[in-house]
């Protein structure tokens, strides 16, 4: 499976809903030690799209300033985190659009509090409703290729399959499915959830992803800013390696040095 048929060809520019993006690293904004580290990490990661949640006003950890802090420098991607019904997800998306004036939404529709895995059935319903309502929908979904195809068919601008549970740091549990999804997708595939370290990011890109969204792996690293810089290199490494065309795996050795001309 080496297909590179997905919307945003590896190695070239990533485009979502007609918007060309210069960075393939999407970063979350939660869980950082403080705002200074957050902004330094976003900077070090070179992120262009950053995610944010929609919450009742009094609970806004950084006061009124998150939009002020980030709004001018990043493309904000509000999510519907915490929503467990189509209705809540749709309303949250609409509030987000109203609040910050973007029609982009990362659609989360949690099916299970323990795993935070999405609810596939409701996800499709909500995605359809939001697309009809004019949203650019980026759904957080399972690594089920049938579901990803379906989400694309109802008009999602990208699909965001999970690698492993949110915050688990277990990386990509099923590289086979992810590669399959990438090889068949007509829209960009952004790996979402489960990234633990840089090698996970590289693998995602090598499997054909157009981008990676991560949060905890950077925010909760011992040194978030340094980890963000590592993630930036990881995206470059992965996109470059895929575009460069790796050597095949062989089961037997093959000498690199010449085999003739040895001394006797």
């Amino acid at each position: 499976m080496d297909g590179q048929t997905n919307g945003a060809p590896s190695g070239d520019r990533l485009e979502i809903a007609g918007v060309a993006l210069r960075s393939r690293l999407f970063m979350g904004t939660a869980g950082y030690p403080n705002q200074q580290v957050l902004t330094a990490a976003l900077e070090a990661g070179g992120a262009e799209v950053v995610t944010a949640a929609i919450r009742r006003i009094s609970l806004d950890a950084y006061g009124g300033s998150l939009l002020d802090v980030l709004g001018d420098r990043y493309r904000l991607l509000p999510n519907t985190s915490g929503c467990t019904t189509v209705q809540d997800a749709v309303l949250t998306a609409q509030l987000a659009r109203e609040a910050i004036g973007t029609s982009w939404v990362k659609l989360e529709l949690i099916g299970d509090r323990e795993t935070l895995y999405p609810d596939a059935e409701q996800l499709v319903t909500a995605a359809e409703a939001l697309v009809r309502d004019g949203f650019v929908v980026l759904p957080y979904c399972t690594d089920d290729p049938v579901l990803c195809r379906r989400l694309e068919d109802v008009g999602c601008a990208a699909v965001m399959p999970l690698g492993s549970p949110i915050g688990s740091g277990m990386g990509i549990l099923n590289p086979y499915n992810l590669e399959l999804i990438c090889s068949r997708a007509g829209v960009p595939v952004i790996l979402d959830a489960g990234i633990g370290t840089a090698s996970d990011v590289v693998l995602a890109m090598e499997l054909g992803c157009s981008g990676v969204l991560l949060n905890t792996a950077v925010a909760k690293a011992h040194d978030p800013v340094r980890m963000a810089a590592a993630m930036r290199h990881a995206v470059e490494a992965g996109i470059g390696a895929r575009a460069a065309g790796r050597i095949p795996r062989r089961r037997y050795a093959e000498a690199s040095s010449p085999q003739l001309g040895l001394i006797e």
């Binding site: 944010a52 929609i54 806004d60 950890a61 939009l67 904000l76 985190s81 987000a96 109203e98 949060n215």
Partner: protein, 68 residues
């Protein structure tokens, strides 16, 4: 005076409209980045001044928060 539910808490307010409610809550100046829903319907910013509140309305006032 009427009772409305704001972000999940029962409150007694004087405001007749969404705009007045935000003023009453001291959110007027911080209004950039806010969004409001009444009874699970978004009230657009340009309608705040004329969107009237009724007894028992459920009001959600949200803004952007950190998130992943």
């Amino acid at each position: 005076m009427k009772k409305v539910r704001i972000n999940g808490s029962e409150e007694t307010v004087r405001a007749e409209t969404v705009a007045e409610l935000l003023r009453e809550c001291g959110l007027e100046e911080r209004a950039r980045g806010l969004a409001v829903a009444v009874n699970r319907v978004v009230v657009h910013r340009q309608e705040w001044a004329r969107a009237r509140l009724a007894e028992g309305d459920r009001v959600e006032i949200i803004r952007l928060s950190v998130g992943g």
